[in-house]
Amino acid sequence: MTMREYMLGNVAIARGLLEGGVQVIAGYPGTPSSEIIDTLASREDRDYHIEWSVNEKVAMEVAVGAAWTGVRSVVTMKHVGLNVAADPFMTLAYAGTKGGLIAIVADDPSCHSSQNEQDTRRYAQFALVPCFDPSTPQEAKDMLPYAFEFSEKFEIPVIFRPTTRISHGKSDIELGEIPAEKAVPHFEKLLDRWVMLPKNARPRHTHILSIQQAMEDELAESPWNSLEIKPGAKMGVIGSGIASVYAKEALQELGLEASFLKIGTYPVPKKLILELLSTVDTVLIFEELEPVVEEQVRILAQEAGLEVSVLGKEGGFVSREGELDVSAFLEALRKAFDLDIEPDSGKVPLELAPRPPSLCAGCSHRATFYSMKKVFGKDAIYPSDIGCYTLGIQSGTVETTLCMGSSISIASGLYHAGEKRPICCSIGDSTFFHTGMNSLLNAVFNKANITVTILDNRITAMTGHQPNPGVGFTVTGEPTVEVSLAELCKAMGAGFVTVVDPYNLEETQEAFKAAKEFEGTAVVIAKQPCVISGKRAGIKRVPYIVDPEKCEGCKQCVKFGCPAIEFDEENKCAVITSLCSGCGVCAQICKFDAIREVKR
């Protein structure tokens, strides 16, 4: 009997890695990829090394070192993580690998939780490496053992690219076997492979170009591509990855006769594309984000002199932005063939209040931002970074967000450009360890007169509370060195470094005042555990209430923006709800002494 389990896509991916015999796993958290390592780290019978590395470049290199000993390794990240890891990755494509090496790079079409929606299939093209693009969580799991074998056979790293709807989709999954035997690590000193001097790199470039056709041929025969020719059908559809599933559902729904090519691997299976093109008049290409397949189809049709009308992003049939769905396919059909398909009219009969995500009740970031704004004022400039605290845009203290670690360097650039207003940037603990450290070093070295605020909530919160070098334990909970942010900043030459408790407004504001006065790069570390992980670790605080007798209805506490504070319009009085986590900041804000701890 086969085993079936209900699983999150990322849990299925973790399972696929186990079934593929993975031995070393490294990564940096990033939505939608994080649960892969979280899942593998929480297993009790681990016979592999697993780590949260400090950033994606480092994680990639750890996986490379491991694969060069002949074991199977994997590195996980979100799409933008590959920008950080692009340096090792691009040259790794030349050097190649011994043990199978999979770079899992999770894309986020529609930017559900990201700063852009770049398409990782472009990176695969750029680096000349194969890419696997699963269409369902089951296929994702099943592809991974194949991807390891493929990587080993061609001695080349491969990209595995799930999207948000795969990683955070759930499905009943049929499980396979986990192999008992694993490779014995042995690093062979192949200097012409592992030392990418110009004289070694040139022939490797030749090599990687020379194996493209063989890889494509093998992938075309794999189960991840499939071609169904409907005899007599003049219309063809090509769907890639998850978009193929939406196209299939729409075609089934409409009962439309069309030949169908599903693509799950890159370089694209040219053979199959040509076979389809030779039987149809029109082909509609349905893929998320970039026209990667579409460009290949246009080139092939032209080379083969085929008179096929190619519909896709070009001409505006399929959007190049955001994720696709069944409705997007119907819309493409309607545009292409003037079909009479009723457009969806999801009319909402009422005006709704927006419900954007916000910092939790009692989140220390809100308190830090409050003090920061008090001291630096409206006129100051507030570069920020990537993490929960980006939600501080609601506090008016997030004025730039570009990429991981950029807050400090952008602050430096603003200063060096001659901007005379005070500059105070903010960055989380994990983001600081990721790439903010380099920026601080640079700021100190080049004498940027700025204030750097490290929002040290003792965890990597946004992605699901993963450990980082400042917390004192590894991904598996094993104790390790707890790197001191303050000592690190001092060692990098910062002339002013101070640690404060952001729940203490007076202390924090004094520190900000001193930092603002300081000539040079000043660092304020606001240290207070994340309320979610703090609660899990057993931190208990007494909640607060408003004394309606004392409340004057000035709304100062309401303006603080804590989700636990509401305003009773009838009685003109603030109310603290059961969401209160007891940080006590609102009690310090209240001028009328109307907020106090609930009596025990």
Partner: protein, 200 residues
């Protein structure tokens, strides 16, 4: 309700606010579907949007295709919060069923005076024009059962009669997925939610 007994295909949308337990609610149904041998696909909101933001889960019973319900494709909506029922209406079939918790959660955009929260009765009236609405305060019901935190399970109980899965299997799934100490409360909440809809 029992007309559906022979039919295994059902698209269900769960809407709510991050932190209300929408994921656990869909997991209870998902696990129970697998036990019952019904193929299932689901899509969830994780990451940034979860922090007190609006969330929507798609659950497709008897589906072997994608996890996203097409527009106007959902048979039933389970709304853990009234305003969040309205936000995702374009996914619901005309004449579809909405089971809605009447306990509102006021977003920061309203407390800070930037926008207004519509009257709950106004929401229910608007929904009733095109859809079959079953409304009750699931927070209060869960409180009666022993804990407000069991609201999501009370809502699963409320929708349970519409699902092609037996009550016993759903309860089995509840027992596995909720914290051990809270099993009794959650079972009570499930039963109370189920009765609430059966009676209406």
């Amino acid at each position: 309700m029992s007309e559906r007994a022979g039919e295994k295909k059902l698209d269900l949308l769960i809407t709510g606010v991050g932190g209300q337990g929408a994921i656990l609610a869909s997991d209870i149904i998902g696990k129970a579907a697998v036990i019952s041998g019904i193929p299932i696909r689901a899509a969830e909101t994780h990451g940034m949007a979860q922090r007190g933001g609006s969330v929507v889960n798609h659950i497709r019973l008897g589906s072997d295709l994608g996890s996203m319900i097409p527009k106007k494709g959902a048979d039933i909506m389970l709304a853990l919060e009234p305003m969040e029922a309205v936000r995702y209406l374009d996914f619901l079939k005309d004449g579809g069923v909405i089971i809605v918790n009447t306990q509102s959660i006021i977003p920061v955009t309203v407390t800070s005076g930037l926008s207004k929260y519509p009257e709950v009765q106004e929401i229910l009236d608007a929904l009733s024009e095109k859809y079959v609405v079953k409304a009750f305060n699931a927070d209060e019901l869960a409180h009666e059962a022993g804990s407000r935190l069991a609201m999501n399970v009370a809502m699963v109980g409320a929708v349970s009669g519409y699902l092609p899965i037996s009550k016993e299997v759903l309860l089995e799934s509840v027992k596995v997925l909720v914290p051990k100490k809270t099993i009794e409360i959650n079972i009570r909440a499930f039963e109370m939610g189920r009765e609430e809809v059966e009676e209406s």
